[in-house]
């Protein structure tokens, strides 16, 4: 028997012209947590997907527990004891939790028997790992954090000995992430092997035994976690030193630019998502909204941006009242000087099939500079896009390239460039750096601070507590649609975490 749960030898994979994995060798010791880090597009997901049988390597060998394995599809991987939680969840959204868990592991041709068994087994697993989920809940109605739990349960349910998690904490709150890490530790105790892909070096330091670094399709190094440092890893990842702290001066808040009063938003099912929320954002300050994903932040941003109608409440923009209870008009909000960086660039902020230049004017396509009549001046559009590309160092610098062909970080820069360069009075930003690599994060953070210093009012929503703490001048914590509290950025992580978990609120209510 080998000491290695997994050994990859000479894995090579091309996607057409893209060489995603170049002759990769990797050894993962049994019963350890092995981290994999790398910039966007380094090939981490591809490598793991090959291990999981989702993609086929062009060449190379896979050994599992010392045995050469022929993993021709995910079925083979599952029976070899591998489970994977994908970066983009592989769940059937209109299925119940139970159905998702059972899919592919149904036991028999008729479901009835399997359902009873799965329900019992699920309950056992939930108790063992303290992962509560309602087995009959429909996936699309669950917050992402819970969806991820389902993914993990799915893998464990299939008796995975080796669990791969691809950027699992991107969608989690610190508390949820902690919980996840406790589960991982527990799995490790049971002798299972975990491979963890993440962009967050602190997580690597906190939980892994070993860490491998990928860069541009190559495996550049593997280190024992105890023998390396955040700085070394960061350098290995990008090949240069990066700033992990945002330099910023004192905020000089001016007049109130955005004022929200008693805002209440219900979703299509009638569930109250934002509950009587009031706050102000002043010129020259960044107000951060922290909170576990799904506590109403998204709905709050959308209501302010005019994309969703509020049930009641008022919003005042630069002193002018806005009708937020009507059908909503994002175009009108833009005209009034509000810019919006939406949380989800793939579905909302960008049209992936458009050329870059076309996305660079999305929402502002009515501007006179893009054409005087109903006709668009394509030259002007491209020229404008090119200017933004240069300012934001968007790569590759080609305004005619399909947006889908830019990496996630560059796509995000396209959105930011568009919204920031309009020089808005008020900027609302959702998840500015989700899934973006370290280099790009640094750039984006700098730009946000610059905007503040130019006297813009900025409302920032992020599930990254670190990000909020380093950028915001004031932090509002949301829980269950309400404002759970407001703190200064120097509040401790623990204190904010309690607020995000709704603990404070319960205490207050008890008083």
């Amino acid at each position: 028997m080998s000491d290695f749960a997994i050994e990859l030898k000479g894995i090579d994979k091309r996607f057409g012209a893209v060489h995603a994995n170049k002759n990769i060798n990797l050894q993962v010791a049994k019963g350890t947590i092995h981290g994999i880090i790398g910039e966007n597009g380094a090939g981490k997901s591809t490598l793991m997907s090959i291990l999981y049988g989702f993609y086929q390597a062009d060449s190379g060998e896979i050994f599992i527990s010392g045995q050469k394995a022929n993993i021709k599809d995910s079925k083979a991987a599952i029976s070899a004891g591998i489970g994977m939680v994908h970066q983009h969840f592989m769940l059937v959204e209109n299925f119940s939790v139970l159905e998702n868990i059972m899919l592919g592991a149904e036991e028999s041709a008729i479901l009835t028997k399997g359902i009873t068994k799965a329900r019992a087994e699920l309950k056992r697993l939930e108790e063992q790992y303290e992962m509560e989920v309602d087995p009959d809940a429909i996936i699309e109605e669950l917050p992402v954090g819970v969806q991820q739990r389902v993914e993990i349960l799915k893998a464990i349910y299939r008796k995975a000995d080796i669990l791969i998690l691809d950027e699992p904490t991107g969608v989690l709150t610190p508390a949820e992430a902690d919980h996840l890490f406790r589960i991982l530790a527990q799995l490790k105790e049971q002798g299972k092997t975990v491979i963890l892909i993440t962009h967050k070096l602190r997580e690597i330091m906190a939980i892994t035994d070993e860490v491998s670094v990928m860069r541009r399709g190559e495996m550049v190094a593997t280190r024992k976690t105890s023998e390396t440092s955040v700085e070394e890893l960061a350098e290995l990842m990008v090949g240069r030193r990066v700033l992990l702290h945002v330099e910023k001066g004192e905020a000089k808040p001016g007049e109130v630019k955005l004022s929200v009063r008693n805002l209440t938003v219900r979703d299509s099912r009638g569930v109250t998502m934002v509950d009587n929320v009031s706050f102000d954002v002043r010129a020259g300050e960044i107000v951060g909204i922290a909170g576990v994903a799904g506590n109403g932040q998204s709905e709050l941003l959308e209501a302010i941006a005019g994309m969703r109608s509020a049930t009641s409440g008022t919003v005042t923009l630069s002193g002018q009242p806005v009708d937020v209870t009507g059908p909503g008009d994002p175009a009108d909000m833009r005209r009034r000087g509000l810019a919006h960086v939406p949380e989800d660039r793939h579905h909302t902020g960008l049209v992936l099939k458009f050329e870059e230049a076309e996305n660079a004017m999305l929402g502002y396509h009515g501007d006179r500079k893009f054409g005087q009549s109903f006709l668009l001046d394509v030259e002007a559009v491209r020229k404008d896009a090119m200017e933004k590309i240069e300012q934001y160092d968007i790569r590759p610098p080609n305004p005619r390239l399909k947006t889908a062909n830019f990496s996630g970080g560059n796509q995000q820069k396209i959105v930011l460039a568009r919204e920031m360069e309009r020089n808005p009075e008020v900027l609302i930003i959702g998840q500015p750096t989700r899934g973006v690599d370290v280099g790009a994060i640094e750039f984006i953070h700098k730009r946000i601070i610059e905007m503040r210093d130019q006297g813009k009012a900025i409302l920032l929503v992020s599930v990254e507590l670190d990000e909020i703490r380093s950028l915001a001048d004031r932090i509002i914590v949301m829980f269950a649609g309400r404002i759970a509290g407001e703190r200064n950025p120097d509040a401790s992580e623990g204190e904010l975490g309690l607020l995000m978990a709704g603990v404070e609120q319960k205490l207050e209510a008890a008083e």
Binding site: G53, D73, S79, H86, M90, L91, E93, N94, L111, G114
Partner: protein
Amino acid sequence: MDTNTIVVLLQSTIRVSVPLILTALAGLYAERSGVVDIGLEGKMLAAAFAGAATAAVTGSAITGIGAAMLVSVAFSLVHGYASISQRGDQIVSGTAINFIAAGATVILGQAWFAQGGRTPALSADARLSTYKLPGADAVRDVPVLGPIYSDLLSGHYLLTYFAFAMVPITWWVLYRTRFGLRLRAVGENPGAVDTAGISVVRMRYLAVICGGMLCGLAGAYLSMALANGFVKNMSAGRGFIALAALVFANWKPKNILITCLLFGFLDALSIYSQNADLPIMSSIPDQAIQALPYVLTVILLAGFIGKASPPKASGVPYVKER
């Protein structure tokens, strides 16, 4: 309208809704797996031809049904190959099948039987026969329930009973079996199915084959039960109506039954009212009466059902590596 009229209308409703039910269910299997099928019309037509041609030659209804299903499945496999294996456009593939079936049935029919694309009239053995429910004659005179049992429920083709039985069976397959679970999943998120260790391609092929078989039965029913032989283009748009019924039913088996019966009833009603010289009806142009089912469908679409929510992945080829 007296009971008799109502029974007559409902009988007609049952007869004409059978091919719609079978075809809409065929579409259900395919679309629930993520494969849009606008080739239903062509498959039904090809099956009607194959069934009648085989039955005419062999004199056996069972062989005819077998041939109808075989041909329809063959077309399904072409559609599957184009849209599953080759990831082609599913609408285009379906359109192609409709064209090919419309042309090929006539050419082959002419080549084999030299009756202008028609098949010879089927003998009694080669046709599907009707089946009387036990005791149908005995209870006919019982008021109300008697006619309902012996005239409405009894005396249909076995295929009719089968079509109606297929609705709960399909429901059961879809929601109570492993195959159904996977089928629904693959139409919603093929990635989830793939990573669960199930072959997306295999599931989709199975689904289109199921659809092909049902469509084959629908075709056989047209040419071997309702008519006694094949006439060119005899499907006469029923595949499209079935498709409408499928959407109208929001891809749900129970709704398909209701929708197809409704469409069938409107059809029966329009026929009935043309004949019956009802005082108001006679002043309405025939064309308005003919258009009634379609108009009503539109009105229903407008008023009662909200957004149709098709399977999320339907129409989208599963591509892992672009």
